[in-house]
Symmetry: C2
Subunit: 119 residues, 2 copies
């Protein structure tokens, strides 16, 4: 099985496929602690990360933003003191694409490799 | 009258004064388009800024975050494609302090001086 983190985002069009329930059941266990939430009928992957201060949360926000822009796939990132919330979904298909799971997994790797976590 | 943007944040303690209704009536006209909202009974100043892409919104987020950290007063910043939402309030007093109006005014100046706005 290839890992999500070894993948890159693929170009996404309005008729690109949403993940099926079967794919969702396979992919979600690969991104622990990510929750599927609903905003205005559109599902999103959401997770909250903790940091020991504002500065470290800002550094993570900037790194994630740069990585996301490089992939051409853009999350919502909510930054506050000691905390960053990340939402992934695919605007064009108003739902979840495999890209979102790839980026969620990459976000976890970035956090795991960060020295900015609380002690 | 001194302008808010010429002020710096003052150190804030749990018994620091919240802005009074009279002060609010004087200060709000100085920060156009900022709205006072309520989250769990705590008032916040909120404003949304538009950008022409994700990268410019990220740049603004990073600059605002660095400025805020330098002042020792920290907002919530929500970054997504073409948009940054900013919330100011004072955690220690669970309400609005003059610092929040100072930082709202400085956020406006930062946006006005940005080349990142939509055309």
């Amino acid at each position: 099985m290839t890992t999500l983190t070894s993948e890159s985002c693929v170009a996404c069009r309005r008729d690109s496929p949403k993940v099926t329930d079967a794919e969702m059941a396979e992919l979600l266990p690969q991104i622990p602690d990510w929750e599927v939430t609903d905003t205005d009928g559109i599902p999103r992957l959401e997770k909250s990360y903790k940091f020991k201060n504002f500065s470290d949360a800002l550094t993570f926000t900037t790194r994630l933003g740069l990585e996301a822009d490089g992939e051409g796939h853009h999350p919502r990132i909510t930054l506050e003191w000691g905390r960053v919330d990340v939402d992934w979904w695919t605007h064009k298909i108003r739902g979840l694409h495999r890209n979102d799971f790839v980026m969620a997994a990459k976000t976890d790797v970035m956090y795991a490799g960060s020295s900015d976590k609380p002690d």
